[in-house]
């Protein structure tokens, strides 16, 4: 069983997309999850609902709106065109933005849950010992939430690997640019190449199972869960 060039390209693209998305998600979600974990207000509830929406919405709905935003006649599309000289829609960058939105709840929610478990009292104690808020976060919150960062990153990565609807809407099917694994699989089925489809599908099933198995093994106690 060997992979052809197109498949290798799709695998590489998928891994690149998932890795970049995961890094961006961690950077974005850490302050967002921290803010959500310390607030109880209408504003925070609204933000929480928005973050959780990709869990409920069909990915095509998300993809549809993102596609409209990315076209060159919107402000975002125009700005992108001016800055980079290329079109945003149907590009790898569009996939990254789409994936960040799509996988946001999978990273924010485990982090938020972990931050909520950290007693306010410990941070107060750290403050009375002379630790600034940033120092408190670095020296108390990060080490205590270490496991949840691994959980969040794994879930964000795996969920991005598994996305299809959003990619189809905003990325199309450009080899080497937007043709990720799930699209390649869809292509194979469309063109009745069931042998190829089997290889890709089985590979994705194995990958997902092993990742989730490791996560559940590793993080039994903290009981992360996704809330919609």
């Amino acid at each position: 069983m060997s992979l052809n060039h197109a498949e290798l390209e799709a695998i590489y693209l998928t891994i690149a997309l998932a890795s970049i998305t995961t890094v961006l998600l961690l950077i974005l979600s850490t302050p967002l999850a921290w803010w959500l974990s310390r607030r109880r207000s209408t504003v925070s509830a609204t933000v929480e609902a928005i973050v959780a929406m990709p869990l409920i919405l069909p990915p095509t709905v998300l993809g549809f709106y993102l596609l409209l935003m990315f076209t060159p006649d919107t402000a975002l599309g125009r700005l992108w065109q001016q800055l980079t000289g290329t079109q945003l829609a149907f590009s790898f960058s569009a996939l990254v933005i789409g994936s960040v939105v799509y996988s946001l709840p999978f990273v924010v929610q485990p982090l938020q849950a972990a931050f909520q478990r950290i007693p306010q009292g410990l941070l107060q104690a750290a403050a009375t010992l002379g630790a600034s808020p940033l120092d408190q976060f670095r020296s108390i919150v990060l080490p205590l939430a270490r496991r949840s960062f691994i959980t969040a990153a794994s879930l964000g990565f795996a969920h991005t690997v598994g996305e299809f609807g959003v990619v189809l809407m905003i990325g199309g099917n450009i080899p080497g640019e937007t043709r990720v694994l799930s699209i390649a699989l869809y292509d194979s089925v469309e063109s009745l190449q069931f042998g190829d489809a089997h290889r890709l599908a089985a590979g994705l099933v194995m990958f997902s199972f092993v990742l989730l198995f490791l996560l559940y093994r590793y993080d039994r106690q903290s009981g992360w869960r996704i809330r919609a």
Binding site: P119, G121, L122, Q124, A125, A126, A127, T128, L129, G130, A131, S132, P133, D135, Q136, S139, I140, P143, L144
Partner: protein, 363 residues
Amino acid sequence: MSALKLSLHCQGDDGFALQLDCQLPAHGITAVYGPSGSGKSTLLDCIAGLRSPQPDSVIGLDDEIWQAPGVTVPSWKRRIGYVFQDARLFPHLNVQQNLDYAMARRAPPGTIDLDQVVPQLELDDLLSRAVDTLSAGQKQRVAIGRALLSSPQLLLLDEPLANLDHAARQQCVRCLQRLSDELQLPMLYVSHDIEEVSQLADHLLLLDRGQLVEQGSLLELCSRLDTRLSHEEQAAAILTASVMQHDSAFDLTQLAVDGQPLWVNHLPYSPGQIRRVRIPARDVSVCRARPQDSSILNILPVTLSEIEDTDSARVLLRLSLGSQFLLARITRKSVVELKLQIGDPIYAQIKSAALLMEASDQA
């Protein structure tokens, strides 16, 4: 003279508002005493900056202003140490690392050192232990050490001994007394346990429903009749006494209170040491003439200096013994029958006197 200046207005959690205008001495141990819900912890949280008082409040220690209109110094910049009721040790660090956490963040000059705190708090064997393997008493001693190592100008303690058993509590009290003597560090000590307060405090701040009821020297406040303290069931006078001699035949120790002998159960203190004695008002009775054949060992000549009705049946007497005072709770009927008048020389019979270190030292 350095002082902690407080002009505080703060909404508490359970409906009352803390309203306080006072100056506290910035030396020795000041106990903040009052029933639960009287605003004691709110007071400490305001001083530490963990809770925001009304904007017109003022908090300052010596020349440093921590809170004033337009000024709020954040907690982490105030040089306070805070020992919480629930230790709050960092669970991902061991004992040594918890102590190091404070050392690494203290403002120079740090005057308190590890080799000073560790033996004083008896932490030598605990340093490499994980904090979740410690007993409640050990945790609290580590927490005290950690707070001290941040080299604070003021140490706040919020009922630090409330969750400890008797032995651990006594060990902590001993440590705190030693540290207070040695470090010259002012402490504000919240408690609702009058025994603990009597053992430790030099100064007393009485709070009730957010209001200041009384403040002053502990020994003086405890001997006055017009304070809330003396109207409580466990009202007691606190006196200082020096250890005179031991009577090994009867297993007793003789103390002197203003020259008068006082016998208590044998104590392991050497002659000459000064100790506090707590004498509950309900354990003191009076008589006109010295009884000749009483089983009570301690019968002291005193002068009746004040009488105050506490309820319809009982009164409280203040008896002067040299420069110090005893309290006695007797019935109003006895006052009438003995024709007691202020200024009368009478005899106080003391059924029990507890030396404030061990619990079972009564005579």
